[in-house]
Amino acid sequence: MTQAQLEIQLLAMATAVACSLCGVFLVLRRMSLLSDAISHTVLIGIVIAFFLTGDMTSPWLLVGATTAGVFTVLLVEGLQKTGVVREDAAIGLVFPALFSIAVLLISIYSKNVHLDMDAVLVGKIALTPLPSRRLEFGGYDFGPKSLALMIAIIIVNIGFIILFFKELKVSTFDPAFSKAIGFNPYWIHLGLVLSVSTTAVASFDAVGSILVVALMAAPAATAYLFTDKLSIMLVWSCIIGMLCAVLGYWLAHFLDASIAGSMATVAGILFGLTFFFAPERGLFSVWQRAKIRDRKFKLALLLVHLTHHEGTIRELEECNIESLHLHLRWDEYETRSVAFEAVESFCASQENKVLKLTPKGRIIALESLQIGTNLS
Protein backbone atom coordinates (compact mmCIF):
# COMPACT_ATOMS: atom_id res chain seq x y z
CA MET A 1 0.00 0.00 0.00
CA THR A 2 1.44 3.34 -1.00
CA GLN A 3 1.34 6.43 1.16
CA ALA A 4 -1.18 8.00 -1.21
CA GLN A 5 -3.51 5.03 -0.80
CA LEU A 6 -3.14 5.20 2.96
CA GLU A 7 -3.94 8.91 3.02
CA ILE A 8 -7.04 8.47 0.90
CA GLN A 9 -8.26 5.72 3.19
CA LEU A 10 -7.53 7.76 6.29
CA LEU A 11 -9.51 10.67 4.88
CA ALA A 12 -12.36 8.36 3.90
CA MET A 13 -12.42 6.92 7.41
CA ALA A 14 -12.30 10.33 9.05
CA THR A 15 -15.13 11.58 6.86
CA ALA A 16 -17.21 8.50 7.63
CA VAL A 17 -16.66 8.86 11.37
CA ALA A 18 -17.56 12.56 11.42
CA CYS A 19 -20.73 11.82 9.44
CA SER A 20 -21.69 8.74 11.47
CA LEU A 21 -21.55 10.70 14.72
CA CYS A 22 -24.08 13.31 13.51
CA GLY A 23 -26.00 10.57 11.76
CA VAL A 24 -26.93 8.80 14.99
CA PHE A 25 -28.94 11.79 16.16
CA LEU A 26 -30.36 12.49 12.72
CA VAL A 27 -31.67 8.93 12.48
CA LEU A 28 -33.09 8.94 16.01
CA ARG A 29 -34.75 12.32 15.46
CA ARG A 30 -36.07 11.28 12.06
CA MET A 31 -34.17 14.15 10.48
CA SER A 32 -32.18 12.21 7.86
CA LEU A 33 -33.99 13.99 5.07
CA LEU A 34 -32.95 17.33 6.52
CA SER A 35 -29.30 16.28 6.34
CA ASP A 36 -29.84 15.56 2.66
CA ALA A 37 -31.10 19.10 2.21
CA ILE A 38 -28.25 20.60 4.24
CA SER A 39 -25.58 18.69 2.34
CA HIS A 40 -26.90 20.17 -0.90
CA THR A 41 -27.58 23.72 0.13
CA VAL A 42 -24.16 24.23 1.73
CA LEU A 43 -23.06 24.55 -1.88
CA ILE A 44 -24.64 27.95 -2.19
CA GLY A 45 -22.74 29.09 0.87
CA ILE A 46 -19.49 27.85 -0.67
CA VAL A 47 -20.22 29.55 -3.99
CA ILE A 48 -21.16 32.90 -2.45
CA ALA A 49 -18.17 32.83 -0.09
CA PHE A 50 -15.96 32.02 -3.06
CA PHE A 51 -17.27 34.96 -5.06
CA LEU A 52 -16.66 37.27 -2.12
CA THR A 53 -13.14 36.06 -1.34
CA GLY A 54 -12.01 34.74 -4.73
CA ASP A 55 -10.10 32.01 -2.94
CA MET A 56 -11.08 28.35 -3.08
CA THR A 57 -9.10 27.51 0.07
CA SER A 58 -10.33 30.38 2.23
CA PRO A 59 -11.72 29.39 5.64
CA TRP A 60 -14.62 31.74 4.88
CA LEU A 61 -15.94 29.04 2.59
CA LEU A 62 -16.51 26.87 5.64
CA VAL A 63 -18.26 29.73 7.43
CA GLY A 64 -20.40 30.53 4.39
CA ALA A 65 -21.38 26.92 3.95
CA THR A 66 -22.27 26.41 7.61
CA THR A 67 -24.39 29.55 7.51
CA ALA A 68 -26.15 28.22 4.43
CA GLY A 69 -26.86 24.96 6.25
CA VAL A 70 -28.39 26.71 9.24
CA PHE A 71 -30.29 29.04 6.91
CA THR A 72 -31.76 25.99 5.15
CA VAL A 73 -33.09 24.58 8.39
CA LEU A 74 -34.55 27.93 9.48
CA LEU A 75 -36.18 28.35 6.09
CA VAL A 76 -37.68 24.85 6.20
CA GLU A 77 -38.98 25.40 9.71
CA GLY A 78 -40.29 28.85 8.83
CA LEU A 79 -42.21 27.49 5.86
CA GLN A 80 -43.59 24.71 8.00
CA LYS A 81 -44.76 27.12 10.70
CA THR A 82 -46.89 29.05 8.22
CA GLY A 83 -49.09 25.97 8.20
CA VAL A 84 -49.38 26.14 4.42
CA VAL A 85 -46.85 23.40 3.64
CA ARG A 86 -45.86 20.30 5.59
CA GLU A 87 -42.32 19.42 6.63
CA ASP A 88 -41.56 17.00 3.79
CA ALA A 89 -42.85 19.46 1.22
CA ALA A 90 -40.94 22.31 2.85
CA ILE A 91 -37.68 20.35 2.61
CA GLY A 92 -38.51 19.37 -0.97
CA LEU A 93 -39.06 23.02 -1.85
CA VAL A 94 -36.19 24.73 -0.07
CA PHE A 95 -33.31 22.50 -0.97
CA PRO A 96 -33.72 22.24 -4.75
CA ALA A 97 -34.29 25.99 -4.85
CA LEU A 98 -31.05 26.84 -3.05
CA PHE A 99 -29.12 24.03 -4.71
CA SER A 100 -30.22 25.01 -8.19
CA ILE A 101 -29.21 28.62 -7.65
CA ALA A 102 -25.77 27.38 -6.65
CA VAL A 103 -25.57 25.09 -9.68
CA LEU A 104 -26.60 27.94 -11.97
CA LEU A 105 -23.97 30.22 -10.50
CA ILE A 106 -21.28 27.60 -10.94
CA SER A 107 -22.22 26.81 -14.52
CA ILE A 108 -22.34 30.49 -15.49
CA TYR A 109 -18.98 31.31 -13.95
CA SER A 110 -17.35 27.92 -14.30
CA LYS A 111 -14.69 29.21 -16.69
CA ASN A 112 -12.74 30.85 -13.94
CA VAL A 113 -13.88 28.74 -11.00
CA HIS A 114 -12.33 25.49 -9.89
CA LEU A 115 -15.70 24.07 -8.99
CA ASP A 116 -17.00 21.52 -11.40
CA MET A 117 -20.20 19.54 -11.24
CA ASP A 118 -18.56 16.14 -10.91
CA ALA A 119 -16.64 17.27 -7.86
CA VAL A 120 -19.80 18.72 -6.37
CA LEU A 121 -21.73 15.50 -6.76
CA VAL A 122 -19.18 12.86 -5.77
CA GLY A 123 -16.25 14.82 -4.37
CA LYS A 124 -12.61 14.42 -5.24
CA ILE A 125 -11.17 12.21 -2.59
CA ALA A 126 -8.77 10.66 -5.10
CA LEU A 127 -6.99 14.02 -5.36
CA THR A 128 -6.26 14.09 -1.62
CA PRO A 129 -2.53 13.27 -1.75
CA LEU A 130 -1.72 15.90 -4.43
CA PRO A 131 1.14 18.29 -3.50
CA SER A 132 -1.13 21.36 -3.85
CA ARG A 133 -3.48 20.02 -1.18
CA ARG A 134 -1.05 19.44 1.63
CA LEU A 135 -0.75 21.12 4.96
CA GLU A 136 2.78 22.39 5.30
CA PHE A 137 4.10 24.19 8.31
CA GLY A 138 7.68 25.29 8.91
CA GLY A 139 8.93 23.06 6.13
CA TYR A 140 7.22 19.94 7.53
CA ASP A 141 4.51 18.05 5.72
CA PHE A 142 1.53 17.36 7.95
CA GLY A 143 -0.39 15.33 5.37
CA PRO A 144 -3.40 16.36 3.31
CA LYS A 145 -5.23 19.54 4.32
CA SER A 146 -8.62 17.89 4.09
CA LEU A 147 -7.54 15.18 6.52
CA ALA A 148 -6.50 17.79 9.07
CA LEU A 149 -9.82 19.58 8.63
CA MET A 150 -11.77 16.35 8.98
CA ILE A 151 -9.95 15.40 12.18
CA ALA A 152 -10.75 18.85 13.58
CA ILE A 153 -14.43 18.27 12.73
CA ILE A 154 -14.36 14.89 14.46
CA ILE A 155 -12.90 16.48 17.58
CA VAL A 156 -15.59 19.18 17.55
CA ASN A 157 -18.34 16.60 17.04
CA ILE A 158 -17.08 14.31 19.77
CA GLY A 159 -16.67 17.30 22.08
CA PHE A 160 -20.23 18.41 21.37
CA ILE A 161 -21.61 14.92 22.02
CA ILE A 162 -19.62 14.37 25.22
CA LEU A 163 -20.43 17.81 26.66
CA PHE A 164 -24.13 17.67 25.85
CA PHE A 165 -24.65 13.92 25.99
CA LYS A 166 -27.46 13.96 28.53
CA GLU A 167 -29.14 16.95 26.88
CA LEU A 168 -28.96 15.28 23.47
CA LYS A 169 -30.31 12.05 24.92
CA VAL A 170 -33.28 13.47 26.78
CA SER A 171 -34.30 15.96 24.08
CA THR A 172 -34.14 13.27 21.40
CA PHE A 173 -36.08 10.70 23.40
CA ASP A 174 -38.73 12.97 24.91
CA PRO A 175 -38.70 16.63 23.75
CA ALA A 176 -41.71 17.69 25.85
CA PHE A 177 -40.20 16.25 29.03
CA SER A 178 -36.86 17.80 28.13
CA LYS A 179 -38.46 21.23 27.90
CA ALA A 180 -40.35 20.70 31.14
CA ILE A 181 -37.13 19.97 33.05
CA GLY A 182 -35.42 23.05 31.66
CA PHE A 183 -33.57 21.86 28.56
CA ASN A 184 -35.18 23.65 25.67
CA PRO A 185 -34.93 21.14 22.81
CA TYR A 186 -34.66 24.01 20.35
CA TRP A 187 -31.12 24.97 21.44
CA ILE A 188 -29.99 21.39 21.19
CA HIS A 189 -31.63 21.13 17.81
CA LEU A 190 -29.77 24.23 16.68
CA GLY A 191 -26.46 22.88 18.00
CA LEU A 192 -27.06 19.69 16.09
CA VAL A 193 -27.90 21.59 12.90
CA LEU A 194 -24.65 23.53 13.23
CA SER A 195 -22.69 20.35 13.70
CA VAL A 196 -24.41 18.65 10.74
CA SER A 197 -23.77 21.69 8.55
CA THR A 198 -20.05 21.93 9.33
CA THR A 199 -19.65 18.20 8.91
CA ALA A 200 -21.52 18.28 5.61
CA VAL A 201 -19.31 21.08 4.29
CA ALA A 202 -16.08 19.40 5.30
CA SER A 203 -17.21 16.03 3.93
CA PHE A 204 -18.46 17.69 0.77
CA ASP A 205 -14.90 18.15 -0.42
CA ALA A 206 -14.15 14.47 0.00
CA VAL A 207 -17.32 12.65 -0.97
CA GLY A 208 -19.57 15.24 -2.60
CA SER A 209 -23.05 16.38 -1.71
CA ILE A 210 -25.04 13.30 -2.64
CA LEU A 211 -23.03 10.77 -0.69
CA VAL A 212 -22.77 12.76 2.51
CA VAL A 213 -26.29 11.74 3.36
CA ALA A 214 -25.45 8.07 2.77
CA LEU A 215 -22.57 8.31 5.22
CA MET A 216 -24.77 10.10 7.74
CA ALA A 217 -27.78 7.84 7.55
CA ALA A 218 -26.54 4.34 6.69
CA PRO A 219 -24.00 3.57 9.47
CA ALA A 220 -26.32 5.00 12.12
CA ALA A 221 -29.37 3.17 10.77
CA THR A 222 -27.33 -0.05 10.70
CA ALA A 223 -26.10 0.39 14.27
CA TYR A 224 -29.67 1.16 15.36
CA LEU A 225 -30.73 -2.34 14.33
CA PHE A 226 -28.55 -4.15 16.81
CA THR A 227 -27.75 -1.84 19.72
CA ASP A 228 -29.83 -0.91 22.72
CA LYS A 229 -27.84 1.89 24.31
CA LEU A 230 -27.16 5.30 22.81
CA SER A 231 -23.45 5.31 23.68
CA ILE A 232 -22.97 1.88 22.11
CA MET A 233 -24.94 2.94 19.05
CA LEU A 234 -22.53 5.89 18.61
CA VAL A 235 -19.48 3.64 18.84
CA TRP A 236 -20.88 1.06 16.41
CA SER A 237 -21.99 3.74 14.01
CA CYS A 238 -18.38 4.96 13.82
CA ILE A 239 -16.99 1.43 13.40
CA ILE A 240 -19.44 0.73 10.58
CA GLY A 241 -18.57 4.08 9.01
CA MET A 242 -14.86 3.18 9.02
CA LEU A 243 -15.63 -0.24 7.59
CA CYS A 244 -17.56 1.41 4.75
CA ALA A 245 -14.57 3.67 4.09
CA VAL A 246 -11.93 0.93 3.90
CA LEU A 247 -14.05 -1.68 2.10
CA GLY A 248 -15.37 1.05 -0.22
CA TYR A 249 -11.86 2.16 -1.08
CA TRP A 250 -10.73 -1.35 -2.07
CA LEU A 251 -13.95 -2.04 -3.93
CA ALA A 252 -13.28 1.12 -5.95
CA HIS A 253 -9.69 0.03 -6.44
CA PHE A 254 -10.65 -3.33 -7.91
CA LEU A 255 -13.57 -2.04 -9.95
CA ASP A 256 -11.63 1.06 -10.99
CA ALA A 257 -14.66 3.10 -9.99
CA SER A 258 -15.56 6.16 -7.90
CA ILE A 259 -14.32 5.84 -4.31
CA ALA A 260 -17.21 7.80 -2.82
CA GLY A 261 -19.72 5.78 -4.82
CA SER A 262 -18.16 2.51 -3.64
CA MET A 263 -18.22 3.67 -0.03
CA ALA A 264 -21.91 4.44 -0.25
CA THR A 265 -22.52 1.09 -1.95
CA VAL A 266 -20.76 -0.76 0.87
CA ALA A 267 -22.78 1.27 3.38
CA GLY A 268 -25.94 0.12 1.61
CA ILE A 269 -24.81 -3.52 1.56
CA LEU A 270 -23.88 -3.51 5.26
CA PHE A 271 -27.25 -2.02 6.10
CA GLY A 272 -29.00 -4.62 3.95
CA LEU A 273 -27.19 -7.50 5.65
CA THR A 274 -28.02 -6.15 9.09
CA PHE A 275 -31.59 -5.47 8.08
CA PHE A 276 -32.06 -9.15 7.29
CA PHE A 277 -29.80 -10.83 9.82
CA ALA A 278 -29.68 -8.63 12.96
CA PRO A 279 -30.25 -10.92 15.97
CA GLU A 280 -33.24 -9.13 17.53
CA ARG A 281 -34.66 -6.61 15.10
CA GLY A 282 -33.57 -8.13 11.81
CA LEU A 283 -36.28 -9.17 9.40
CA PHE A 284 -35.53 -12.89 9.69
CA SER A 285 -35.58 -12.91 13.44
CA VAL A 286 -38.82 -10.90 13.42
CA TRP A 287 -40.31 -13.45 11.00
CA GLN A 288 -39.03 -16.31 13.11
CA ARG A 289 -40.61 -14.88 16.23
CA ALA A 290 -43.87 -14.23 14.40
CA LYS A 291 -43.85 -17.83 13.20
CA ILE A 292 -43.27 -19.23 16.67
CA ARG A 293 -45.96 -16.95 18.12
CA ASP A 294 -48.33 -17.92 15.35
CA ARG A 295 -47.69 -21.60 15.95
CA LYS A 296 -48.18 -21.26 19.71
CA PHE A 297 -51.44 -19.41 19.13
CA LYS A 298 -52.67 -22.07 16.72
CA LEU A 299 -51.95 -24.75 19.31
CA ALA A 300 -53.90 -22.80 21.93
CA LEU A 301 -56.75 -22.36 19.45
CA LEU A 302 -56.88 -26.08 18.82
CA LEU A 303 -56.94 -26.83 22.54
CA VAL A 304 -59.73 -24.29 23.09
CA HIS A 305 -61.65 -25.90 20.24
CA LEU A 306 -61.27 -29.28 21.95
CA THR A 307 -62.53 -27.92 25.31
CA HIS A 308 -65.62 -26.46 23.66
CA HIS A 309 -66.61 -29.78 22.15
CA GLU A 310 -65.41 -32.07 24.91
CA GLY A 311 -68.15 -34.51 25.91
CA THR A 312 -70.69 -33.15 23.42
CA ILE A 313 -72.49 -35.21 20.77
CA ARG A 314 -70.55 -33.49 18.04
CA GLU A 315 -67.19 -34.34 19.60
CA LEU A 316 -66.63 -37.32 17.29
CA GLU A 317 -67.10 -35.10 14.29
CA GLU A 318 -65.56 -31.81 15.50
CA CYS A 319 -62.45 -33.28 17.09
CA ASN A 320 -61.79 -35.96 14.49
CA ILE A 321 -58.29 -35.63 13.24
CA GLU A 322 -59.40 -36.23 9.67
CA SER A 323 -62.11 -33.59 9.55
CA LEU A 324 -60.62 -31.09 11.98
CA HIS A 325 -59.32 -28.84 9.23
CA LEU A 326 -62.82 -28.52 7.75
CA HIS A 327 -64.13 -27.06 11.00
CA LEU A 328 -61.23 -24.79 11.74
CA ARG A 329 -60.92 -23.82 8.07
CA TRP A 330 -57.20 -24.35 8.24
CA ASP A 331 -54.92 -25.88 5.71
CA GLU A 332 -55.13 -29.69 6.06
CA TYR A 333 -51.40 -30.23 6.28
CA GLU A 334 -51.00 -27.48 8.89
CA THR A 335 -53.88 -28.86 10.97
CA ARG A 336 -52.22 -32.28 11.05
CA SER A 337 -48.96 -30.76 12.12
CA VAL A 338 -50.55 -28.68 14.91
CA ALA A 339 -52.49 -31.75 16.10
CA PHE A 340 -49.30 -33.78 16.03
CA GLU A 341 -47.58 -31.10 18.10
CA ALA A 342 -50.45 -31.17 20.62
CA VAL A 343 -50.00 -34.91 21.03
CA GLU A 344 -46.21 -34.66 21.15
CA SER A 345 -46.31 -32.05 23.90
CA PHE A 346 -48.79 -34.16 25.91
CA CYS A 347 -51.57 -31.60 25.55
CA ALA A 348 -53.87 -34.05 23.79
CA SER A 349 -54.07 -37.74 23.08
CA GLN A 350 -55.53 -39.55 20.14
CA GLU A 351 -58.27 -42.17 20.59
CA ASN A 352 -59.70 -43.69 17.42
CA LYS A 353 -58.77 -40.62 15.40
CA VAL A 354 -60.47 -38.36 17.90
CA LEU A 355 -58.33 -35.86 19.79
CA LYS A 356 -58.89 -35.85 23.55
CA LEU A 357 -57.56 -33.22 25.92
CA THR A 358 -55.08 -34.26 28.59
CA PRO A 359 -55.13 -32.43 31.95
CA LYS A 360 -52.14 -30.38 30.79
CA GLY A 361 -53.92 -29.42 27.57
CA ARG A 362 -57.02 -28.43 29.53
CA ILE A 363 -54.99 -26.08 31.74
CA ILE A 364 -53.38 -24.42 28.73
CA ALA A 365 -56.74 -24.01 27.02
CA LEU A 366 -58.29 -22.43 30.10
CA GLU A 367 -55.33 -20.07 30.51
CA SER A 368 -55.61 -19.02 26.87
CA LEU A 369 -59.30 -18.32 27.33
CA GLN A 370 -58.52 -16.23 30.39
CA ILE A 371 -56.06 -14.06 28.46
CA GLY A 372 -58.53 -13.71 25.62
CA THR A 373 -61.18 -12.42 28.01
CA ASN A 374 -58.82 -9.96 29.69
CA LEU A 375 -57.93 -8.42 26.39
CA SER A 376 -61.49 -7.64 25.37
Partner: protein
Amino acid sequence: MTGLNDKKLELALEINDLTVSYKDKPVLWDIDLEIPQGALVGIVGPNGAGKTTLIKSILGLLKPVAGSAKILGLEIDQGIKKIAYVPQRGSVDWDFPATVFDVVQMGTYGKLGWLRRPGSKEKKLTKDALEKVGMLELAHRQISQLSGGQQQRVFLARALVQHAEIYLMDEPFQGVDSTTEQSIVELLRELRNQGATALVVHHDLQTVKDYFDWVVLLNVRKIAAGPVSEVFTETNLKLAFGSRVSLGE
Protein backbone atom coordinates in the same frame (compact mmCIF):
# COMPACT_ATOMS: atom_id res chain seq x y z
CA MET B 1 -45.73 30.93 62.95
CA THR B 2 -46.94 33.20 60.22
CA GLY B 3 -44.45 31.59 57.87
CA LEU B 4 -46.06 28.23 58.48
CA ASN B 5 -49.50 29.68 57.86
CA ASP B 6 -48.36 31.30 54.66
CA LYS B 7 -47.15 27.96 53.41
CA LYS B 8 -50.46 26.34 54.25
CA LEU B 9 -52.33 29.03 52.37
CA GLU B 10 -50.18 28.80 49.27
CA LEU B 11 -52.04 27.12 46.46
CA ALA B 12 -50.38 24.31 44.53
CA LEU B 13 -51.76 25.73 41.31
CA GLU B 14 -53.56 28.94 40.58
CA ILE B 15 -54.90 29.32 37.09
CA ASN B 16 -56.47 32.59 36.00
CA ASP B 17 -58.54 33.18 32.86
CA LEU B 18 -56.46 30.67 30.93
CA THR B 19 -57.41 30.42 27.26
CA VAL B 20 -55.50 28.22 24.85
CA SER B 21 -56.49 27.94 21.25
CA TYR B 22 -55.55 26.16 18.09
CA LYS B 23 -55.65 29.01 15.57
CA ASP B 24 -59.04 30.59 16.39
CA LYS B 25 -60.56 27.44 17.86
CA PRO B 26 -60.35 27.51 21.66
CA VAL B 27 -59.21 24.28 23.28
CA LEU B 28 -59.52 25.78 26.74
CA TRP B 29 -61.90 28.67 27.36
CA ASP B 30 -61.15 31.10 30.16
CA ILE B 31 -60.26 28.58 32.87
CA ASP B 32 -60.13 29.68 36.50
CA LEU B 33 -58.84 26.98 38.77
CA GLU B 34 -57.32 26.78 42.22
CA ILE B 35 -55.80 23.54 43.41
CA PRO B 36 -54.85 23.26 47.10
CA GLN B 37 -51.65 21.56 48.18
CA GLY B 38 -51.74 17.92 49.14
CA ALA B 39 -54.71 16.96 46.97
CA LEU B 40 -55.01 14.00 44.64
CA VAL B 41 -56.84 15.54 41.72
CA GLY B 42 -58.50 13.74 38.82
CA ILE B 43 -58.93 15.69 35.60
CA VAL B 44 -61.95 14.26 33.83
CA GLY B 45 -63.69 15.16 30.61
CA PRO B 46 -64.62 13.81 27.18
CA ASN B 47 -62.14 13.45 24.30
CA GLY B 48 -60.99 16.83 23.08
CA ALA B 49 -61.97 18.49 26.35
CA GLY B 50 -58.52 20.02 26.72
CA LYS B 51 -57.19 17.82 29.55
CA THR B 52 -53.73 17.35 28.02
CA THR B 53 -53.74 20.99 26.91
CA LEU B 54 -54.35 22.09 30.49
CA ILE B 55 -51.35 20.09 31.71
CA LYS B 56 -49.12 21.31 28.90
CA SER B 57 -50.08 24.93 29.57
CA ILE B 58 -49.21 24.59 33.25
CA LEU B 59 -45.82 23.24 32.16
CA GLY B 60 -45.32 26.14 29.77
CA LEU B 61 -45.15 23.76 26.80
CA LEU B 62 -48.05 25.63 25.18
CA LYS B 63 -48.44 29.37 25.08
CA PRO B 64 -51.84 30.60 26.19
CA VAL B 65 -53.58 33.34 24.17
CA ALA B 66 -54.85 34.75 27.43
CA GLY B 67 -54.50 34.25 31.15
CA SER B 68 -51.80 32.75 33.32
CA ALA B 69 -50.87 29.91 35.61
CA LYS B 70 -48.96 30.09 38.86
CA ILE B 71 -47.19 27.19 40.49
CA LEU B 72 -46.92 27.40 44.29
CA GLY B 73 -47.23 31.17 43.88
CA LEU B 74 -44.43 31.33 41.32
CA GLU B 75 -44.45 32.18 37.64
CA ILE B 76 -44.18 29.14 35.35
CA ASP B 77 -40.46 29.45 34.51
CA GLN B 78 -39.61 29.41 38.23
CA GLY B 79 -42.37 27.12 39.45
CA ILE B 80 -41.69 24.44 36.86
CA LYS B 81 -38.76 23.22 38.96
CA LYS B 82 -41.30 22.04 41.55
CA ILE B 83 -43.14 19.90 39.02
CA ALA B 84 -42.61 16.37 37.78
CA TYR B 85 -44.30 15.58 34.48
CA VAL B 86 -45.44 12.18 33.30
CA PRO B 87 -46.34 12.46 29.59
CA GLN B 88 -48.61 10.07 27.75
CA ARG B 89 -46.86 6.77 27.21
CA GLY B 90 -47.53 6.93 23.49
CA SER B 91 -45.82 10.31 23.12
CA VAL B 92 -42.32 8.83 22.81
CA ASP B 93 -40.62 6.29 20.59
CA TRP B 94 -40.00 3.23 22.76
CA ASP B 95 -37.57 1.84 20.16
CA PHE B 96 -35.08 4.49 21.27
CA PRO B 97 -31.75 2.88 22.22
CA ALA B 98 -31.94 3.22 25.99
CA THR B 99 -32.33 0.98 29.00
CA VAL B 100 -34.90 1.31 31.76
CA PHE B 101 -32.16 2.80 33.96
CA ASP B 102 -31.23 5.41 31.32
CA VAL B 103 -34.79 6.67 31.04
CA VAL B 104 -35.42 6.85 34.78
CA GLN B 105 -32.11 8.64 35.30
CA MET B 106 -33.39 11.41 33.00
CA GLY B 107 -35.47 12.49 35.99
CA THR B 108 -32.28 13.67 37.71
CA TYR B 109 -31.19 15.85 34.77
CA GLY B 110 -33.33 18.85 35.71
CA LYS B 111 -31.61 19.45 39.06
CA LEU B 112 -28.19 18.82 37.49
CA GLY B 113 -28.65 21.58 34.93
CA TRP B 114 -26.68 22.00 31.71
CA LEU B 115 -23.36 20.19 31.22
CA ARG B 116 -23.12 18.40 34.59
CA ARG B 117 -23.35 14.65 34.35
CA PRO B 118 -25.12 12.26 36.65
CA GLY B 119 -22.83 10.80 39.34
CA SER B 120 -23.19 8.26 42.12
CA LYS B 121 -25.83 10.32 43.94
CA GLU B 122 -28.02 10.36 40.83
CA LYS B 123 -27.47 6.64 40.31
CA LYS B 124 -28.64 5.97 43.84
CA LEU B 125 -31.76 8.14 43.37
CA THR B 126 -32.50 6.30 40.14
CA LYS B 127 -32.19 2.90 41.80
CA ASP B 128 -34.43 3.97 44.67
CA ALA B 129 -37.14 5.10 42.27
CA LEU B 130 -36.85 1.87 40.28
CA GLU B 131 -37.26 -0.10 43.47
CA LYS B 132 -40.36 1.90 44.42
CA VAL B 133 -42.11 0.98 41.18
CA GLY B 134 -40.86 -2.61 41.32
CA MET B 135 -38.66 -2.36 38.23
CA LEU B 136 -35.19 -2.73 39.74
CA GLU B 137 -34.70 -6.20 38.26
CA LEU B 138 -35.45 -4.85 34.80
CA ALA B 139 -33.08 -1.87 35.14
CA HIS B 140 -30.85 -3.00 32.28
CA ARG B 141 -33.57 -4.11 29.93
CA GLN B 142 -34.00 -2.27 26.65
CA ILE B 143 -37.16 -0.14 26.78
CA SER B 144 -38.62 -1.62 23.59
CA GLN B 145 -38.94 -4.95 25.39
CA LEU B 146 -41.31 -3.63 28.05
CA SER B 147 -45.04 -4.19 28.32
CA GLY B 148 -47.38 -1.21 28.46
CA GLY B 149 -47.65 -1.42 32.23
CA GLN B 150 -43.89 -1.60 32.62
CA GLN B 151 -43.40 1.41 30.34
CA GLN B 152 -45.80 3.38 32.53
CA ARG B 153 -43.87 2.33 35.65
CA VAL B 154 -40.68 3.59 34.01
CA PHE B 155 -42.28 6.97 33.36
CA LEU B 156 -43.58 7.08 36.90
CA ALA B 157 -40.14 6.27 38.31
CA ARG B 158 -38.64 9.03 36.17
CA ALA B 159 -41.06 11.45 37.84
CA LEU B 160 -40.42 10.07 41.34
CA VAL B 161 -36.68 10.67 40.92
CA GLN B 162 -37.43 14.38 40.63
CA HIS B 163 -38.79 14.48 44.21
CA ALA B 164 -41.19 17.18 43.10
CA GLU B 165 -43.94 18.91 45.03
CA ILE B 166 -46.45 18.65 42.22
CA TYR B 167 -46.95 15.72 39.85
CA LEU B 168 -48.72 16.19 36.53
CA MET B 169 -49.66 12.90 34.92
CA ASP B 170 -51.23 12.47 31.52
CA GLU B 171 -53.32 9.30 31.44
CA PRO B 172 -51.03 7.08 33.51
CA PHE B 173 -53.66 4.33 33.54
CA GLN B 174 -54.03 4.17 29.77
CA GLY B 175 -53.59 0.58 28.59
CA VAL B 176 -51.94 -0.77 31.76
CA ASP B 177 -52.78 -4.00 33.57
CA SER B 178 -54.82 -3.83 36.76
CA THR B 179 -51.84 -4.68 39.00
CA THR B 180 -49.91 -1.71 37.63
CA GLU B 181 -52.97 0.52 37.99
CA GLN B 182 -53.31 -0.45 41.66
CA SER B 183 -49.64 0.11 42.40
CA ILE B 184 -49.72 3.52 40.70
CA VAL B 185 -52.70 4.47 42.87
CA GLU B 186 -50.80 3.28 45.96
CA LEU B 187 -47.80 5.42 45.01
CA LEU B 188 -50.02 8.44 44.38
CA ARG B 189 -51.53 8.08 47.86
CA GLU B 190 -48.07 7.77 49.37
CA LEU B 191 -46.99 10.97 47.60
CA ARG B 192 -50.11 12.76 48.78
CA ASN B 193 -49.49 11.61 52.36
CA GLN B 194 -46.03 13.12 52.13
CA GLY B 195 -47.62 16.43 51.20
CA ALA B 196 -47.27 16.35 47.42
CA THR B 197 -50.03 17.32 45.02
CA ALA B 198 -50.91 15.23 41.99
CA LEU B 199 -53.03 16.09 38.96
CA VAL B 200 -53.98 13.05 36.94
CA VAL B 201 -55.76 13.00 33.61
CA HIS B 202 -58.21 10.15 34.02
CA HIS B 203 -60.68 8.33 31.80
CA ASP B 204 -62.50 5.81 33.91
CA LEU B 205 -65.44 7.51 35.63
CA GLN B 206 -66.12 4.42 37.75
CA THR B 207 -62.89 4.75 39.73
CA VAL B 208 -62.84 8.54 40.26
CA LYS B 209 -64.42 8.26 43.72
CA ASP B 210 -61.93 5.60 44.83
CA TYR B 211 -58.80 7.21 43.53
CA PHE B 212 -59.13 10.97 44.00
CA ASP B 213 -59.94 13.55 46.69
CA TRP B 214 -60.55 16.28 44.18
CA VAL B 215 -61.91 16.33 40.67
CA VAL B 216 -61.79 18.83 37.84
CA LEU B 217 -64.56 18.34 35.26
CA LEU B 218 -63.49 19.81 31.99
CA ASN B 219 -65.05 20.29 28.60
CA VAL B 220 -63.19 23.17 26.97
CA ARG B 221 -64.69 25.25 29.76
CA LYS B 222 -64.32 24.31 33.39
CA ILE B 223 -67.57 22.59 34.35
CA ALA B 224 -66.76 22.13 38.01
CA ALA B 225 -63.83 21.67 40.35
CA GLY B 226 -63.71 20.71 44.00
CA PRO B 227 -63.78 17.79 46.43
CA VAL B 228 -65.11 14.65 44.77
CA SER B 229 -68.01 14.34 47.22
CA GLU B 230 -69.33 17.81 46.31
CA VAL B 231 -68.53 18.07 42.64
CA PHE B 232 -68.69 14.58 41.13
CA THR B 233 -72.46 14.58 40.68
CA GLU B 234 -74.74 13.26 37.96
CA THR B 235 -75.70 16.82 37.02
CA ASN B 236 -72.13 17.99 36.58
CA LEU B 237 -71.20 14.87 34.64
CA LYS B 238 -74.08 15.46 32.25
CA LEU B 239 -72.86 19.00 31.78
CA ALA B 240 -69.39 17.73 30.97
CA PHE B 241 -70.17 14.68 28.89
CA GLY B 242 -73.68 15.27 27.57
CA SER B 243 -76.70 13.25 28.61
CA ARG B 244 -75.48 9.79 27.64
CA VAL B 245 -73.08 9.35 30.51
CA SER B 246 -74.14 8.18 33.92
CA LEU B 247 -72.40 6.88 36.98
CA GLY B 248 -74.42 3.69 36.71
CA GLU B 249 -75.76 4.02 40.21
